[in-house]
């Protein structure tokens, strides 16, 4: 027996609860003093953190909070939202509950752009390799979408995945090439970047990513119902009056932008785009009108939490934390399926 059609009330309640979850996680991340394993690293006591957030507090606390912690937490939230939104869009449109936004090849393009720029020493003041990562993402997206069109110019889901995977392998080879040609210390630095980190977050980056998330959400929410129809089949959606090619274009472009910006800002952080939308669907059902906003909020909370763990364990790369959470999630899924 399945739950009934989505009502405005259920939508509102789910968004509210996810919003509260995010708010709680943000508060924790802004105030907490993760001492755990970073034994001697200086930390800010909670009391001073709260004072600084409230507008008062001493100068150092204010500097730490507003110059470092707020941008970092904001970037983590925005990145988590971006990746989760991309996954929440892709899974129904590709009719694959295990689709990950990284299959588009865009993330590898962004990573290669960033790694190449870092190794040559190119950087735009303050922005790090972000611009080159975005360029790499854009080029990869163009290539993937170009390869994925069929004879009649339509975007075919299966071809898109194939093109994305092929491109990912190619670009990964490029990345390994760049890393292997770099002197040892820099090679390690590149690898660390690839594993994802919010340590160098700036307010501008956080705003840029958050802006993309908001713009994408405004663009795709009116299409959310169409996405539900496309989750059954393209033909079914077309029969019911959906302009399928237009929706696909909007969705894929939005995903490419979201992934590109996320990777450019913070490196390759996996599993968020896969686990958060999938988990949301398991808990709340397959309606995209619910899945999209809730994934955004939960994705943000998830990555903020992961970054907190990263800070607690001596700046562990965030990608490692998300992978550590992601793997058991899938093991659970697999076992559930076997039992069912």
């Amino acid at each position: 027996m399945m739950r009934g059609p989505l009502t405005a009330r259920r939508l509102g309640a789910s968004i509210l609860i996810s919003g509260m979850l995010l708010a709680g996680m943000l508060a924790l991340a802004l105030i907490a003093n993760p001492r755990a394993l970073a034994r001697d690293a200086p930390q800010l006591p909670m009391r001073r953190a709260v004072e600084a957030l409230a507008g008062g507090g001493d100068e150092t606390a204010r500097l730490v909070i507003w110059r470092f912690r707020v941008p970092r937490v904001a970037l983590a939230a925005a990145t988590g939202a971006a990746l989760a939104l991309a996954g929440a869009l892709l899974q129904p449109v590709m009719r694959n509950p295990l689709a990950d936004p990284y299959v588009l090849g865009v993330s590898s393009g962004a990573a290669l752009g960033a790694v190449a720029a870092l190794s040559i020493g190119l950087h735009v003041a303050g922005a790090g390799p972000a611009i080159f990562a975005t360029l790499g993402a854009a080029l990869a997206a163009l290539l993937t979408f170009g390869l994925a069109r069929d004879a009649e110019g339509r975007l075919v889901g299966e071809r898109l995945v194939l093109a994305g995977v092929v491109l990912s392998y190619l670009l990964a080879a490029g990345i390994m090439w760049v890393v292997s040609l770099s002197p040892a210390a820099q090679g390690q630095h590149l690898l660390f970047w690839l594993m994802g980190s919010f340590a160098s977050a700036s307010g501008a980056q956080a705003l840029a990513v958050a802006g993309c998330v908001v713009a994408s959400l405004l663009l795709v929410m009116p299409q959310a119902s169409a996405v539900n129809l496309m989750a059954v089949s393209d033909e079914h959606a077309a029969d019911a009056g959906v302009a399928v090619e237009r929706v696909k274009r909007v969705v894929f472009v939005a995903c490419a932008v979201l992934v590109g910006v996320a990777v450019a800002a913070a490196g390759s952080i996996g599993f968020v785009g896969l686990v958060v939308p999938h988990g949301t669907r398991l808990a709340l059902g397959s309606d995209a009108r619910l899945g999209l906003p809730v994934s955004v909020l939960c994705g943000a909370a998830f990555l903020v939490g992961a970054d907190l763990v990263s800070r607690a364990f001596g700046e562990l790369p965030v990608g490692v934390v998300t992978a550590t959470c992601g793997a058991p999630f899938f093991l659970l899924l697999l076992l559930r399926r076997r039992a069912a």
Partner: protein, 293 residues
């Protein structure tokens, strides 16, 4: 295929991997697969016995003319074998362990060195190599000399007030020298508190922690060439850090600082000079009443 040795092996020594290696009493054809090992061999006065070294083993000057054995990360076993060495030196800090096994399979004596922690570890490595190369007297002399310089530097630094310092191996992300590194020891020698010792080895720091640590001196051990203004190389975000404000950010040259060799003894003296200069700037600022924290 086993290659017959050039000089008959006369004794057996045990290396850091616990393997017994057969070497001549006085090795005549020595190879080193890492720059610090090369420098130590030359410092022991046995440079003329070297027949090959790694591609970045460029110092001292005569070493740059030696035939190359490939990179540190992947030495060329063929190049090594062709030169018929009777002793190959490798270090666990940079050479892959597998190369030891491959060389031994070809009958080439390969000795693995595992440098111990800190400056004491450097002394041990010098003594080990002195024993291997039949240069025990020179080894003892080098160690005594290094220890003497360090003691002298420590005494001279005691009069200056204790400063908070950090040694950074990388600036983005921030990777600092922690407990157990010889940088940690050097800071102690020059009467500086290691403000970024957030763990053993090379811990990563968040920018927030770095700012809270508020080091008064920053030493950049990144291996990058120095820029016009090292204080700026950290980025705009570091403006509030005392060391950046007082322009007490110094670039450490790879030789001697980035290699665990006895030259660190002289390096300690250089370090003391840098810190004395920094102390003057900090004092000047305090007298002007700008405050440091």
């Amino acid at each position: 295929m086993i290659m017959p040795p050039v000089v008959a092996p006369a004794r057996s020594v045990v290396d850091a991997t616990g393997t017994a290696v057969e070497i001549p009493e006085t090795p005549q054809r020595v190879m080193a697969l890492a720059p610090d090992l090369t420098e130590i061999v030359f410092a022991l006065g046995r440079g003329h016995r070297m027949v090959g070294a790694c591609d970045v083993c460029d110092e001292p000057a005569p070493a740059s003319h030696l035939p190359e054995t490939g990179s540190m990360e992947s030495p060329s076993v063929e190049a090594i074998a062709l030169l018929r060495p009777d002793l190959v030196l490798a270090t666990s800090e940079g050479n892959p362990r597998a190369v030891l096994e491959r060389l031994r399979a070809l009958g080439i004596p390969a000795f693995g060195v595992q440098p111990g922690p800190g400056l004491d570890g450097v002394a041990t490595t010098v003594e080990t190599l002195g024993d291997l190369l039949d240069a025990r007297v020179e080894a003892t002399r080098l160690v005594v000399d290094m220890r003497a310089r360090i003691a002298e530097t420590r005494a001279l630094s005691a009069t200056r007030k204790r400063l908070r310092a950090c040694v950074l191996a990388w600036t983005d992300p921030l990777i600092a020298a922690g407990h157990g590194t010889y940088f940690d020891d050097l800071l102690d020698v020059v009467n500086a508190e290691n403000a970024c010792a957030a763990g053993d080895g090379w811990p990563r720091l968040s920018r927030e922690s770095f700012v809270l640590a508020a080091p008064q001196v920053i030493l950049l051990a990144t291996g990058q060439p120095p820029e016009a203004s090292p204080a700026r190389s950290l980025g705009d975000w570091a403006g509030a850090v005392p060391a950046v404000r007082d322009e007490a950010v110094f670039v450490l040259s790879p030789r001697p600082f980035l290699r665990p060799t006895p030259a660190l003894g002289a390096g300690a003296a250089t370090l003391r000079t840098l810190l004395d200069a920094a102390a003057l700037r900090t004092d000047a600022r305090e007298r002007r009443g700008d405050g440091t924290r």
